[in-house]
């Protein structure tokens, strides 16, 4: 069965790399369970699935990943997004709060994690995020940065 990572990497079942990926069923299953835990969690902690997918689309763009951008665009369209969420997904920064604060954080942690400081978490608190939301947002950011790297590495393997 083709999963989200195969799709992102462009792998089909007749390829050697598709089979090589299955040498690690723990990674295949684990990556998919992680994806569900940050994009479609049973308890979303008040960060709705359409906000999560819109942020994922934004981070795919920051990682220059057109395949994942297109995938998240399709998913977002099915989740009844508001104008604000569509703008957020497209990389807009002029948004209402707390979205404006959230996207500043998402952009910073995606592009320059090294520069993260205590004050950045304080800004999220000031925008009204509680501790479960701060952790859930951090896991979502970190997951998309994991996903784009695995997909990118597999694509490089396919073309060598």
């Amino acid at each position: 069965m083709i999963d989200a990572m195969d799709k992102a990497a462009g792998l089909s079942p007749d390829e050697a790399l598709f089979a090589a990926r299955r040498f690690r069923p723990e990674f295949v299953r684990g990556a998919e369970e992680c994806r569900l835990s940050v994009l479609q969690p049973a308890n979303d902690q008040g960060l709705a699935p359409n906000l999560r997918v819109a942020l994922a689309r934004r981070m795919a763009a920051l990682n220059a990943d057109p395949i994942l951008m297109a995938e998240y665009d399709v998913q977002l369209a099915q989740l009844d997004p508001t104008e604000q969420l569509l703008a957020l997904a497209q990389g807009e920064t002029d948004l209402i709060e707390p979205l404006a604060t959230i996207v500043r954080h998402v952009d910073l942690i995606t592009l320059t994690p090294k520069s993260a400081e205590a004050s950045h978490i304080a800004l999220l608190e000031k925008a009204g995020l509680n501790n479960p939301q701060i952790v859930a947002l951090s896991e979502l950011i970190a997951f998309v940065n994991f996903q784009t790297r695995v997909a990118s590495g597999l694509r490089l393997m396919r073309s060598t």
């Binding site: 835990s37 950045h120 479960p132 896991e139 970190a142 994991f146 790297r149």
Partner: protein
């Protein structure tokens, strides 16, 4: 001859209040039974337990990537983790995985070369792994097909390269938690 760099373990402290065990929900307590590297329930674990679903899913995947049997040698996974942690600026993770690399190889030569920023002192296999780790960790990734060719030229097969991609990428994740949600202190 470069004198060895001695790295002491750091302590990590969160910027937000971690979950108190006495106030944890059954789901949080259940999730905290699984810990990174099967270590104790640390402040880091209790911080992430605020969102038990993502904590549990990621920790299971993390432990598989770093410890699953066969495939890429353990020190090579640690070197991938170290390269990512240096790029992402996570001092805590860098020290932990530098020390594990030194323990597993019974040598601190590689770690010393990296902490003194002398990657040219690495052997060809370590150099190929470290360079790929750095380039894949950039945002956006700067890795190219030349990096994959370099890994193949030092004898790595597809399964080992897949293991390495995961070791580097899971630190693109772990570093964005540890260095973002708290800070490292010595002693």
């Amino acid at each position: 001859m470069i004198s060895s760099v001695r790295l002491k373990p750091l302590n990590w402290h969160p910027y937000i209040a971690p979950v108190e065990l006495s106030e944890a929900t059954p789901e949080q307590l259940e999730a905290m039974k699984v810990t990174p590297s099967a270590k104790k329930v640390s402040e880091y674990v209790r911080t992430l337990a605020h969102d038990p679903e993502s904590y549990l899913a990621r920790t299971v995947l993390f432990n598989a990537i770093m410890y699953v049997e066969g495939g890429l040698a353990r020190p090579d996974r640690e070197l991938g983790a170290l390269g990512a942690s240096l790029v992402n600026g996570c001092k805590f993770c860098a020290v932990v995985h530098a020390r594990r690399h030194a323990e597993l190889t019974k040598s601190d030569e590689v770690v010393t070369a990296l902490y003194l920023d002398k990657p040219e002192a690495l052997g060809p296999r370590d150099a190929a792994i470290y360079s790929f780790a750095r380039r894949l960790s950039a945002a956006p990734s700067e890795a190219t097909t030349d990096d994959i060719a370099a890994l193949r030229s030092v004898g790595m097969d597809d399964c080992e390269i897949i293991d390495l991609i995961h070791a580097i990428s899971i630190f693109g994740w772990a570093n964005r938690l540890m260095h973002v949600l708290g800070h490292a202190e010595s002693g």
